[in-house]
Symmetry: C2
DNA sequence: CTGAAAGCGCTTACAG
DNA sequence: CTGAAAGCGCTTACAG
């Protein structure tokens, strides 16, 4: 492996000059530049970026932590992030917590040990306090979550409005008792959705019923059990909102297999709008989220911060959602 | 940010000693060690790993490049890789080529610029020559692909046998004309599958029919068109093998929507065994691949190489597949 | 058992 | 326009 020093010797200049050429310093005389460039090509020299980064005190790397790749929604966000990072001169390490089996701490350590410059937290379930502390130590951007009273950039859909829209759709179809099936993790986006859902019910003159909301792990058995538990208490369950397409796909399967017992076919609306919602049979009515854009925008915001560009006054960035009515 | 130097000064020792403590050098006197450890905690000192890596001439980072996260099969492999890397002291950068829109070259550059130590190529469509060249320059492991005559470690299922099994299953059900729908990219695993598929047909006394095999991009319209094009030429198309669950899900949708016109409901077997195959209606009969293990083993092999552990004589590592018969 | 010194491969303020 | 020198924060062979 050749180094700046070697290039310099061969070109008859100093390392400093080679470095300047490498970094397009306009002060370098054209002839000198060409001479150096020629040697660089000849030796097929590639700079050692570890050295450069150490010297410049920046790893040029960011970390995006998301719950799991097993859900196509998060995979979509990761795709957007990848796209945004390419050509930026940065690299992105995408990590998953797999619902806390792997520790978030591992990724935060990348920041502490100078291996990464900034962090994007996707649907993390960190406490507000922990988030506040973290954001004071490192550049952080939130994706799919936000806290009004926290001074951290965030990008997400308007979850309250989205859930409101979903519930209204079901209500408009004449369904009265509408359940809400969600994963096991608490999150600010879930809070927002719950509030929109409750508001819609309330406006329709219905008392909120606590046992209409049920948590389930994202696997078939648990989802079946969860829905059945609502149905038991609420004999005339007519509609269901699922917190993700994946959850909804298990519900559909449960109904088809007869494991979920409901009086009729329930109105079902899920969140996300992944390809799953298209290919399911029946096709899912879904609140589509701009996954790609969510990931893309998160990276944009973080890069802006790392480059010390001025930030918008409003830290919250809402991307539009879209209710796609299909067969459920 | 504190440094080794600062810790050293405060502890009244040299940087060398601090470094030794950090690296658990047993030569350090216990009292000295404790003194240093105490200061480290007091200052909440975290080593700068960029500096350490530069000095040790290793980035402690590997790269895994896969086609896309949009396919849950690859997402599953990524999960396995994540799991294998955790606690290894390495980091993994997972990149996607998105079918060559983003360049593979970007990731290879990470190796050239010392930002990564090794590479895992998942279903790449690199030429044998390019692969050979690359593997001479950097530690490389192949996943979902292999070449008999290339001296590169690889891990995959036995694709020939798997496709053979699938075709035999369809044949056993009495289906004669069996089509094969695949994505647009060439790959060694596809080649293996084609060979198993042909062999099964041949053994059943059927001439191989070129227009039974059709390529389609992984989206609904293209898949519909592809299947229809087979059906047109082969009036009595009875069975279909799909190169992925995703492809199969579009086929199912096409049949349901009536966009795909077939005389009867075809026997359909797909590859992968992602959760998609479970939740589809009808549920997919599929050749399940051990996605997680594929990713996990790939990382294991690469790490072994990077640590200069002896390699197995046989470079090819086959993981078992499993035919899961469901409703299609 | 420990320290002084060199060096990993870059960049940059300073001087000329 | 260019070079000598220092330094980013570590580790390690060498000497004692």
């Amino acid at each position: 492996m050749s180094s700046v020093k070697e290039v310099a010797k061969r070109a008859g200049v100093s390392s400093a000059t080679v470095s300047r050429v490498l970094n397009n310093d306009p002060a370098v005389k054209p002839e000198t530049r060409n001479k150096v460039l020629h040697i660089i090509r000849e030796l097929n020299y590639k700079p050692n970026l570890m050295a450069k980064n150490l010297r410049k005190q920046s790893s040029k790397t960011i970390v995006m932590v998301l719950p799991t790749m097993a859900n196509p929604f998060f995979a979509g966000i990761a795709r957007g992030a990848q796209a945004a990072i390419s050509e930026s001169g940065y690299n992105v390490i995408i990590g998953t917590t797999e619902f806390d089996k792997l520790q978030l701490g591992t990724y935060i350590n990348l920041l502490n040990t100078n291996l990464a410059d900034g962090l994007i937290l996707v649907s993390s379930n960190m406490s507000k306090e922990a988030l506040l502390k973290l954001s004071k130590q490192h550049p952080v951007v939130l994706c799919n979550e936000y806290y009004d009273d926290l001074d951290i950039q965030s990008v997400s859909i308007d979850n309250r409005q989205a859930a409101y829209d979903a519930a209204r759709e079901l209500l408009a179809r004449g369904y009265r008792n509408i359940g809400f099936v969600t994963g096991t993790r608490e999150s600010s986006s879930l809070l927002g959705r719950m509030s929109g859902y409750r508001q819609a019910l309330q406006e329709a003159g219905m008392a909120f019923n606590e046992h209409l909301v049920v948590k389930a792990k994202s696997n078939y058995e648990q989802v079946v059990e969860a829905v059945n538990s609502i149905a038991e208490k609420e004999k005339s369950l007519e509609g269901l909102i699922a917190n993700s397409d994946m959850l909804a796909s298990y519900i559909l399967k449960g109904i088809k297999e007869g494991d979920i017992r409901l009086p009729g076919r329930p109105g079902l609306i899920s969140f996300d709008g992944t390809f799953l919602s298209e290919v399911m049979n029946p096709a899912l009515t879904t609140v589509a989220q701009p996954m790609y854009d969510l990931g893309y925008a998160s990276v944009g915001l973080l890069l802006q911060k790392l480059r010390n560009r001025p930030e918008t006054a409003d830290k919250r960035h809402f991307l539009p959602h879209r209710l796609i009515v299909r067969e459920t």
